[in-house]
Symmetry: C2
């Protein structure tokens, strides 16, 4: 059965019920928005998209829900240096969405890349193993970003 839908509704319902969290309209709308994009959305972005599905949902709820999802490990939170956090679905460390980022320090453009991920992942898993042991950490995820000037900004 493909990831996504089972008998009891969307896949994440189980995670929610198991943790004692309630399945509500705002939460469903927020997860729907996150599932339907490949972009890195800010809280405001999510809020505006959710607003089209369910106009009564407030920005506060968006923030609270995103925090909850991050804590549950369902969503990753990123910082690209422009002062607002970005969010995207996690879907597992080797899941179909996993990628790293290339960030332009001038215009803020962010490119997702997956080209070199396989080699990176291999090395990272070794590193994770070594680090976990040495520092007694439970490592849950990682972040790799390259910074520089994009093609449009480098000739300036």
């Amino acid at each position: 059965m493909p990831r996504g839908f089972g008998h009891g509704g969307p896949w994440w319902h189980t995670r929610f019920r198991g943790a004692g969290f309630r399945i509500t309209v705002p939460r469903q709308a927020i997860l729907e928005v996150l599932s339907k994009t490949q972009k890195h959305l800010s809280a405001e972005d999510v809020y505006m998209a959710v607003h089209r599905i369910c106009p009564t949902v407030g920005l506060t709820t968006v923030y609270r829900t995103l925090e909850l999802l991050v804590d549950m490990g369902l969503v990753f939170k990123f910082d690209f240096g422009d002062g607002r956090a970005r969010y995207e679905l996690a879907l597992g460390p080797k899941g179909e969405r996993h990628h790293h980022h290339l960030v332009c320090t001038n215009c803020g453009r962010v490119i997702d890349y997956t080209e070199f991920i396989d080699d990176e992942i291999e090395l990272l898993q070794q590193t994770e193993k070594g680090l976990s042991k040495k520092y007694n950490f439970d490592i849950t995820h990682h972040l790799i970003q390259f910074y520089g000037l994009c093609d449009k900004c480098k000739g300036r």
Copy 2:
């Protein structure tokens, strides 16, 4: 001659003069503070430390100077997810301070590690090369962070 001091004063004076920036008391104090620690300082941390050297320097100047140093590539700016930016001296991509981070998502503790850097650097340089070519980016630096629970937080 060791990096650090030449005839005309500290090493960064040349960089400043060359770029048309002035060498001022606040800037010297801020760079002195950054050179004398291995920690990741917030703007407020820098401000307080600078205040002991030169009490007239304001927080605004600290922010402005840190931004300048980041733009010049002399300082890196990090985000560990606690809402305030951290700064530390760059000293070159293979310089003596280069390291990656291990961040506890529960208590916010940050550990610098250098153990696996050599293998990582090698892979990263290949990746950088590939990315630069494919996306036509001038890559200046990278960020690698592992997230998880530290030994104190995992038993909770």
